[in-house]
């Protein structure tokens, strides 16, 4: 007997096949159709504000100028891209925003300053260094760039151009920091960067640190090779691969140089060749005994010089030395400080602080060869400029390239942002300020390298901040005084268990209970009284791998142990917003530990993560417990310390038992932070070393956010402000950025995105006379703009409107049109602003000076208004409910009085305009008549009478802005503007003044009628009519 199901299949095979095909095809077709249409351009109009600061800038890695004009300078940054000035630093423009932001070297074609080469990936190989993707070239002074190869070198230390043949370019690439690679060494192009040849290579561990060229014989090169490796727990500089080489044939053949160099293994070697005496070279050579070496035979042989500690300092990190272009004896050594020699490097002095403190840690220098007094210096805190050969410097205040590790915000209005900067302490600044957020509004309140900064939500005067290695304090913001809160070892702890604090140790305030303060080393500590008492609430949560805890041996040839290599530590901490007992900890050695009982029991779920495709024990860079379900969490993982730059982010809905990897072809860079929206659980943001990404559908689809955010901006942290809905970004090279009010992104959905047109509901809009108005602009370096005072009208177009007009009109409740506003037509979100005012009146024309009265209008009264969006033949409407400002100073009566007074001014303006029009018309006619009949004295006298009348109603004589001429029209505008622009009812005298002017206008109207009548009766048909154009 045949089984029923098989019988069914046998009988219906054909139709079953067809149905299967159809169903499967349909389902996949439908899912293809529903793929998100949202992309980078959809929300492009929501341009991020660059808050800065400029007063504390970021690490500068390259500076080069155009010697022909001395005022065109390119500045390369560790994470801030390339900035260009064409006015010697009066202003800078960011010219590299579409590309990776880590810059290693910049070179200008000596024959064509518009041809610029950028080598990406700085080579200051500290633990948090970013990475590049090869070489770029511009032929139009930085307006446009083309990628030209060496993509996998990751770090480039120098780009050198042959001045005799600028198609020949050399690139020194130390290469990848975290793993072996063949993509390192010295490269050469002979066709302007189109193709490349590796001309000096040692092995997969050794790259090229520096190269210099004899300017009088460009085929003569000296290059240094450097063996180095960084691991998450150690750094090694130096090895058998390091050596110095010389070529006399443009790199075809090389000779190893040893004469006079230190014995044993060598490390990083920095070179300088004197442009005025190319036989003279200097080198900082890292060895067992690092020193300054000198050659007087073009690098064939060397001898050690006497040198200072600054000259020998940290050679892997301070790898710059330079000669004055014209003075063979003047040498500059930017290092911890700037050392200067006038005897060819035998002895050095330090630069002075007379012009102001010069930031320590220097990596770049450019001396103007046409004017060698001018020295540009690149430091870990920005760019400094000297005009006295490096003796004193002034700080360039308009480069907002700070490297923030984290950001936090408070609930003040306007809110403040807080964050720690690489090298540069911890700062706070306002999100808005009168006239904009200038440098002077920022405040530094903690030293060292800055990381986490947490304003205490329970105590508005306290902020928790830290320096490297967990050195944390509670800062009293009213006095600036600090109380240390870093947990310390006690006799109850094992004697051998030294606390291991990460370079960037977490300080965390509880999301469910803001009285909970957490800090993590290998243990998690919790305080409920602002750090006055700590309790350890966990065992060692790390792998405690002893092999990775030998930091005192780190550095290689030069000991370098600054807590940057501390490992087997807690890196991320989070408390569930829904339950303070749910605490999540991520470690730098890949453990992800969860407790649901406040720390009694911990469960390490790291073994489950690998099942979703993330390598085992990958550094947990952030954890984001969901605010919608306490079993759901997101996490980011960072494996770049092992040479893996993939973007790892995953989600679990069962407290870490199982994980789903969130992935997308758009992702670039290793992941730092994932953030779930405060109100829409499907809205996610992801910050990586190479970009900011957004998903509106729970992580199924992602797009890169490029709205005035560099395409590959390193984003390390972010917050969403609960009151303003701003997205606040901590970028590692572009300061703090704010995307104001992400509500349109929050309210977007796949269904909505399929509509051709969508007009967002406006809801309640507060009347506002402005919040942060300023006076004269500040001369204070970088100044960031404020957010909008008034919420915009927002609408969405699925496609850009190419044909047909688009406009917006505002109507009152009676249907009267109040204002027409020009509308934009871009694809995606559009923003148009209604200033909540009606249209101004027509004012009298024909005077010698313009009058602003027609551009002035009163604010509308509270009530319901209709905004209509016209798109071709279609109309879309929404209601705007205008409400009084909660913090405003006007009562309903005040508003009505103000509106009435403004309306009166408008009426008398328009009445005067009618009179003026009629008189202007008559004047023109009579003028022409007079031209034809110059002897007619009565006609001439009538013309004078007309002009005299006109001169009484509007300025008709003076044209200069320095010559006041206030007549009736101007008087009306003056009181009209006063009434309209103040947040107050008109005063009694203002009202009386309006009445006076109203009477004057009435009299003018009468007079005008008389004059027009005189023209009509006496002159109009009596004299030959004028010829009109």
């Amino acid at each position: 007997m045949r089984k029923p199901h098989l019988n069914f299949l046998n009988m219906k095979r054909t139709s079953f096949c067809f149905m299967s095909f159809f169903i499967l095809s349909s389902s996949l077709f439908v899912s293809a159709q529903q793929k998100s249409p949202i992309n980078s351009g959809t929300f492009d109009v929501m341009q991020a504000r660059w808050l800065g600061p400029g007063t504390m800038s970021g690490r500068i890695t390259a500076i080069v100028g155009n010697p022909a004009d001395g005022k065109t300078i390119y500045v390369g940054c560790a994470g801030g891209g390339v900035w260009k000035t064409t006015n010697a630093g009066a202003s800078f423009k960011s010219v590299f925003d579409k590309y990776v932001q880590s810059i290693g070297s910049i070179a200008l074609d000596p024959n064509d300053a518009n041809t610029v080469y950028v080598g990406t990936g700085e080579s200051n190989m500290r633990n948090t260094v970013s990475y590049g993707n090869g070489m770029y070239k511009s032929t139009d002074g930085g307006d446009n760039w083309t990628k030209i190869g060496l993509d996998s070198t990751e770090h480039i230390s120098k780009v050198l151009i042959n001045p005799a043949n600028t198609q020949i370019i050399y690139v020194a690439a130390p290469g990848p920091l975290w793993c072996d690679s063949k993509n390192r060494g010295l490269f050469k192009s002979t066709d302007g960067g189109t193709t490349w040849t590796q001309i000096l290579y040692t092995n997969e561990k050794t790259g090229c640190a520096d190269v210099v060229m004899n300017p009088t014989n460009p085929d003569e090169l000296v290059a240094t090779m450097w063996e180095f490796r960084r691991k998450p727990f150690a750094f090694n500089s130096g090895g058998k691969g390091s050596a110095m080489y010389k070529s006399k044939d443009g790199g075809k053949t090389w000779t190893k140089i040893t004469k006079g160099l230190p014995e044993g293994e060598l490390g990083r070697m920095a070179l300088a060749i004197s442009p005025s005496n190319p036989k003279h070279l200097l080198a900082i050579i890292e060895a067992k005994a690092t020193g300054l070496y000198c050659s007087n035979d073009g690098g064939e042989s060397w001898s050690k010089q006497a040198s200072t500690s600054n000259v020998e300092a940290r050679p892997f990190y301070f790898s710059t030395i330079a000669f004055d272009p014209k003075d063979d004896k003047r040498v500059y050594r930017p290092a911890f400080q700037l050392s200067v020699s006038d005897d060819g490097g035998f002895s050095f002095t330090e630069a002075s602080d007379e012009g102001g403190w010069v930031h320590s840690d220097h990596h770049a220098i450019w001396i103007n060869p046409m004017y060698t007094n001018q020295v540009w210096l690149g430091t870990d805190g920005g760019v400094f400029l000297s005009n006295d050969r490096g003796l004193t410097f002034t700080f360039i205040q308009n480069l907002p390239v700070g490297q923030f590790y984290h950001v936090q915000c408070d609930m003040k209005d306007p809110y403040n942002v807080y964050g720690g900067l690489q090298d540069n302490g911890t700062w706070m600044g306002p999100s808005q300020y009168f006239g904009g957020v200038s440098n002077g509004r920022w405040r530094a309140f903690y030293g060292g390298d800055g990381f986490w900064a947490q304003p205490d939500p329970t105590d508005e005067n306290s902020v928790y901040a830290e320096a490297q290695g967990g050195e944390a304090g509670r800062v009293d913001m009213t006095t600036g005084l600090v109380v240390s809160i870093q947990p310390m070892q006690t006799k109850n702890e094992s004697k051998n268990k030294k606390f291991r604090w990460n370079w960037n140790s977490p300080i965390y305030i509880g999301a469910a209970n803001p009285h909970n303060l957490y800090m993590g080393c290998q243990y998690l500590f919790k305080s409920t009284n602002q750090g006055r008492r700590w309790d350890r609430i966990s065992p060692d949560l790390t792998t405690d791998n002893k092999a990775k805890e030998q930091q005192e041996e780190s550095g290689g040839l030069s000991a370098d142990n600054t807590s940057a290599e501390n490992h087997c530590t807690i890196f991320s901490v989070a408390e569930s917003p829904l339950d303070a007992n749910y605490i999540f900890v991520g470690t730098d050695d890949g453990n992800l530990q969860i407790t649901t009982d406040g720390g009694q029991v911990w469960n390490n779920v790291s073994g489950n993560i690998v099942n979703c495709g993330i390598p085992a024990q990958t550094w947990v860079s952030s954890i984001e417990p969901s605010r919608y379900d306490k079993n759901t969490l997101y996490a980011t993982f960072d494996n770049h310390n092992y040479g893996d730059f993939n973007t790892y982010v995953a989600k679990s809905t069962d407290l870490g038992k199982t994980w789903t990897r969130l992935n997308n072809t758009e992702f670039t860079g290793f992941a730092h932070k994932i953030k779930e929206d405060l109100k829409n659980k499907n809205l996610l943001f992801l910050g990586t070393e190479r970009g900011l990404f957004c998903s509106i559908n729970g992580g199924d689809d992602w797009f890169r956010m490029k709205n005035h955010i560099p395409d590959y901006c390193p984003v390390r942290d972010m917050q969403i402000h609960p009151r303003t809905n701003d997205l606040i970004l901590a970028t590692y090279g572009r300061g703090i950025m704010i995307v104001d009010d992400i509500t349109p992104i929050r309210n977007m959905s796949l269904q909505l995105a399929q509509k051709d047109v969508f007009l967002y509901p406006m809801g309640d809009v507060e009347l506002s006379y402005g919040k942060f108005e300023g006076g004269f602009p500040e001369h204070d370096g970088w100044v960031a703009g404020n957010s909008d005072d008034i919420p915009p009208i927002q609408y969405y177009f699925k496609k850009r409107v190419m044909t047909g007009d688009v406009s917006i009109k505002i109507f009152d409740a009676s249907g009267k049109m109040l204002k027409e506003i020009p509308a934009t037509k871009r694809k995606g979100l559009n923003k148009v602003y209604w200033d909540l005012r009606i249209t101004g009146p027509k004012t009298a024309t024909g005077g010698t000076k313009p009058d602003q009265g027609s551009f002035i209008a009163p604010m509308v009264l509270p009530g319901a208004y209709t905004v209509k969006l016209y798109v071709g033949d279609s109309t879309y409407s929404e209601t705007i409910n205008v409400i009084p400002n909660k913090n405003g100073k006007m009562s309903d009566e005040d508003r009505k009085a103000q509106y009435a007074a403004a309306q009166k001014c408008m009426q008398i303006h328009e009445a005067l305009a009618v009179s003026a029009d009629s008189i202007n018309d008559v004047i023109e006619r009579v003028k022409s008549m007079v031209e034809n009949d110059k002897s007619n004295k009565k006609l001439t006298a009538f013309l004078d009478t007309l002009k005299s009348f006109k001169s009484k109603i509007m300025a008709s004589t003076q044209t200069s802005i320095f010559a006041d001429e206030e007549r009736l029209r101007e008087k009306i505008t003056r009181v009209y503007a006063t009434v309209c622009f103040q947040e107050a009812a008109p005063t009694n005298l203002e009202l009386d003044n309006i009445e006076l002017l109203s009477d004057d206008v009435a009299q003018s109207q009468q007079k005008a009628k008389v004059l027009v009548k005189e023209y009509d009766t006496k002159w109009k048909n009596k004299i030959k009519p004028p010829v009109t154009r």
Binding site: R13, A32, K799, P822, K825, A857
Partner: protein, 259 residues
């Protein structure tokens, strides 16, 4: 056939077919994304020698065709600009490669500028100018492309302009072809042309004088076809044109500066 065989024989063809469909539907999007993003080398590889010509020809066809455009000898354009609710009037008269006059009128004041091939003047009574002022040599030079009523992309080779296709980028969310046109050492225009309609969305102009470099953008929209077959953008920047007349009679006297 086994049960699994039935399943496989029905599912696999469907699956393959859908995969092909999805792949093909995604290809163009991928190309656009790659070209606008990270992999600039790929963008360069797609810079085929004749891409610029093809795109420009399609653009010219969208405007009405090369013959129509070449027939334009003069233009009159009249429009308005909305300034805080008030409408300013703008009028432009142009005789191709000869002279142009721009007028801007608001509140009774009319500013104007005149550009000729070898001279130029401007008059701005709103700023208190009493007499027309001559333009500098740099300003005259930079104003010359405005005398080309056909548009600089028409017959660009004969004009000696250099064209380069720069790939695909995104302007305000829309994918665009990017064509760079170098007119001379001082002026470079970049045209952003909509992928679907081949109409210009934006023109970016870089002007270089001995004193400085300036950049400007003009956005184009509200394209309309005239009754005689010309396609014009009726909105350029903030200007909404109400009237565009091709080959009107223009009195040369308006190109003589007088107050």
């Amino acid at each position: 056939m086994s049960r699994s065989g039935v399943y496989i024989s029905s599912i696999i063809p469907g699956f393959i077919g859908v995969c092909v469909f999805v792949f093909l539907s995604q290809t163009r999007n991928l190309n656009a994304k790659e070209m606008s993003g990270f992999t600039q080398n790929q963008k360069t590889q797609q810079n085929k020698p004749d891409s610029a010509t093809i795109i420009i020809n399609k653009y010219l066809a969208a405007l009405g065709g090369i013959e129509k455009l070449e027939s334009i000898k003069s233009l009159y354009m009249e429009g308005t600009i909305n300034i805080r609710g008030q409408k300013a009037q703008t009028k432009v008269w142009t005789i191709g490669n000869h002279a142009a006059r721009n007028e801007f009128t608001i509140n009774g004041f009319t500013n104007w500028s005149i550009t000729r091939t070898d001279s130029g003047w401007s008059y701005n009574p709103r700023r208190g100018q009493k007499f027309p002022e001559p333009m500098t040599a740099d300003m005259i030079k930079l104003s010359q492309p405005g005398l080309d009523v056909k548009g600089t992309l028409v017959d660009y080779k004969d004009k000696g302009y250099k064209i380069e296709y720069k790939g695909i980028d995104q302007i305000e969310g829309s994918d665009v072809y990017v064509i760079e046109e170098k007119l001379n050492e001082s002026i470079t225009k970049t045209f952003y042309i909509d992928l679907d309609s081949y109409l210009i969305i934006r023109v970016h102009t870089k002007s270089v004088t001995k004193n400085k470099v300036t950049y400007s953008n003009a956005d184009y929209s509200n394209y309309k076809k005239t009754t005689d077959g010309y396609m014009f953008a009726m909105t350029v920047g903030n200007i909404n044109y109400k009237t565009i007349t091709v080959n009107p009679e223009i009195n040369e006297a308006i190109f003589i500066p007088k107050k």
